[in-house]
Amino acid sequence: MIQRIKYMVRFILTLLLCVLTFSCSNRPDHPVLVNGLPDIYPDYIDVSIPAGIAPLNFNAADNRVQRMDVIIKGSKGGELHANGKWADFDVNEWKKLTQMNQGGDLTVTVCMMVDGNWVQYEDFVIHVSTYLLDDFGLTYRRIPPGYEVGGNIGIYQRDLHSFEESPILQVSAVPGQCMNCHTANRANPSSFYMQLRGEHGGTLIQKDGKQTWLTTKTDSTKLNTSYGYWHPDGDYCAFSINSIHQSFFVGKDRRIEVYDTASDVLVLDTRTNELVLSPLLQTSDWESYPVFSADGKTLYYCTAKACNLPAEYEKVKYNLCSISFDASTGKYGEKVDTLIRVTDVDKSITYPRPSYDGRWLMYNVTDFGNFPVNHKEADLWLMDLQSGETRSLSEVNSEDAENYHSWSSDSHWFVFCSRRENGMYTQLYLASIDEQGKVSKPFLLPQRNPKKYYHELFDSYNCPDFTTVPVEFDARIAHDVVMSDKRVQVKIR
């Protein structure tokens, strides 16, 4: 019996020794130091992040890397360690570390094991911004980047402080319908609208949990509403009505050109479901992409001279204009101001998005057209609404398309889509902006295992928006109403 116990103890000790030996080899012991920064995916080197955001887990870009050992030290204290196939940090520990180092830096030491040998790279820094990001997270649409067929579309929300994503509405709940442009009022989801296209299409206005499904096409406006934006007081929604078409190319330079052959701008009074029209916004030119200023007194929009499409697609260029709007009377001003003229810049200005603090206006610049996502040259630009100065946001722009930008509720962070990784699938990037308009290097939306997640994801992200709290939406009610075709017909005021 004693002999048996001895054998047992010996066996357990041997086993422990093996485990220890094995685990020791998983830690870098006298790694070879190399000059140069580690090649990591996503590129989180020198980015600025808000304290409390989900961990910036990363992988080695090189598939040969067998293991990583990462140590993060905060300039104001704290340390984190990750060791594994990729840098996978504990959510709570990461949160604590970033909160402790708000306004400071995190120094990241990366060791990678290739062919059994450990290599240590130069340290890099992640800046923890002084600006918090208090919003709960993001809402966005995920869609296969196809042509005409929508595929498996869904609108989702993502907690920015963890990796949790949940669907708000998926096409499986409303079969055959195409969903787009879920938009909350200044990131507050108590009011939002959503467009549904298809046999059972309609416009949803949800206020304080109550869904109202509208038919926004009337005898005089001819088309359903498309791109929209809330008035800050929550009573009005500005919309454009667009006759949207798309053409496809045979060659490599462009895949798709989306264009309008008619478009106007109008405002919907969501209290009475009435459309407020103005002859200044319903001209023979094409008006589109309306947005209200932060104080709600100005309506920005884009306008282009009508062209013969699709033949003259390269001639379509949009100006940036504005018109005043009085929410108390529901009336527009009597003159239109042109903020950026096509004749001055020889570019097309689209998708204006004013910051909610009234300081900035971010917009897209493309060579032509009104649908930046399909334009490789699409860049983000920023207008200082105090000085009127404009500049390209070179800190965030890339060789590929940037678009669908949106502001956080405190206007110190913005999210945008970019095709920079592979030219096909758009991904979400976040960046911060300070009072002087200095913009940080953007970072890719964190994921638990980013390489695996993004490389296996066959959806594009679009229409991202911040949301201060989780979106409450009853997909079952939506299904019932959508399929029943019960709609409230809007009227013209």
């Binding site: 296969p144 595929g151 498996n152 499986s172 055959g176 190319f249 060659g251 592979n422 079952r476 299904h479």
Partner: protein
Amino acid sequence: MQKYSKHIIGLLYVIAVLLFFGICYPNHISYQEQFQLFLFTPNYFWETLAIPGGLADYFGGFFTQVFLYSWGGAVVLALLLGAIQQATWLNIKPKGSYALSFLPSVILWVFFCNEAAMVATLVAFLFSLLAAWCIGLIQNMWIRRSVSFVLIPVLYLLLGPLVGLFVLIALVREYKEMYGVIVSGTMILLLVFCPLCAQYLFNYPLVRLFYGLHYSRFPEIVPTLVLVSVLAVAVALCWRTSKLKMNGMIGAVTAIIAISGISSSADFNKEELMGYDFMVRTRQWNRILLTANKKAPSAPLSVSALNLALAQKGFLADHMFDYYQNGGQGMFPNFVRDFWLPLTPAEAFYYLGMTYVAQQYTYEAMEAIPDFQKSVRCYKRLAETNLINGDYKVARKYLNQLQHTLLYSRWAEETLKLLGNEDAINNHPEYGRLRKMAYKDDFYVSDREMASMLGQLYMSNRDNQMAYDYLLGWTMLNGDMENFPSYFSIGNMQMKEIPSCYQQALVLSWALSHPSPEGMPWPISTNILNGFNGFVQAQRQNQPVDYMKAQYGQTYWYYYFYSKS
């Protein structure tokens, strides 16, 4: 012999199913495989399992992989249908009618004559029957009932609403026992409760959670025959109490149901179309020609497959009017938002060198799959088009996924080695050639400007004989005799002899604008000239259409005057 008769009959049934699908219906089998992307990854397993009926879907998808080989699929279906019959028998024996045990399986066989039927149905049906039989082995009534109560929601999650079959058998078993009514009622409530609860957990309409997410490819279609097959199990269960056995008569009725059901459900026109598409997919050009020689195709899809095969073998210019042609649709069927129909035209675009158009058609088809599966066929083609176009990062995404498949992993690994290797791609017999054929300029795709698109494609690379043949073929099919000579003239003038279809079109175009053949600038053979004179003569004599078809049915002239719509 008597002892083994049941086994022999069961075996004969399996063989009958096998022969039907293997010989009569093979293309419906291979058709199934292309509309899924079964991955051997933990993620795929858990994601599939996370939806009601997920386990049945997983196994269904697993089996469907071998459907690429029609006999492989036929074996799977034969074994599953045979197993369902045996499992039904397990549940009704010894008092039940052996002949009736075939009825549910036969109805499912009929169900599988429809291409929308999914293998997950058979898996769910079988597992449900087996679960019910296993539970029946538990002697202790209360343990059996308790396990049944637990299993109902579990099986709903794993197999979907076909757990109803399990409940049905349990009801029949428990109804007459102590507190049978209460137990049965509870089971029914649990059964209804499952989809009602599921609607709060899963993003699907309640109605779909009731009739199943994985039994039919089309979410809007209720799989009625599956319900009928469940009812057939109910009949078989009830028959146990009957004193009438009538095995012979039931067997005969089952056989009649099988024959009449299959003959009314089987769509052999679709089978033919699927066959053409499969042959295009697997590049069996000679087989397409042999098939067309036996029976000329007439639908746009099959004719376009035939024209592609003719072009691939270099016969299009000489022989396209040897076969029935149905206009431009027979070369490029109109794009429709469908998950299958755009795939054959996409193949034609691919081989022509219009890789971006091929990519568009392929992608659209994949995204139109009604149950939102991805397509292994489309992934493969999208990897190829992206590779040819130099979009290596996107190609890598597709190839990385294909590495986790059973039948495409080796191909994916080989193709991954090409990414970024310009020399290897440029020297590749297919990808290198298609790269050279690509458009030099960019412009809009337009169905209405197909001649211009083909012309520009040919002008981008004058070695692209297929583009030239398609340009002239398209022009002939559309009866554009005004432009035919000018399109013809852009071609390679080094040809020894003008192909016969082109000669016929040239003669016709000349005749339509000139009073006599004098001055015709092309070397037209005497045979063609004589033939045309004979044709004109016959027309002047107002010969009946049948006569014209018999004499000139394989000429362009006949097509131009009699077939072209």
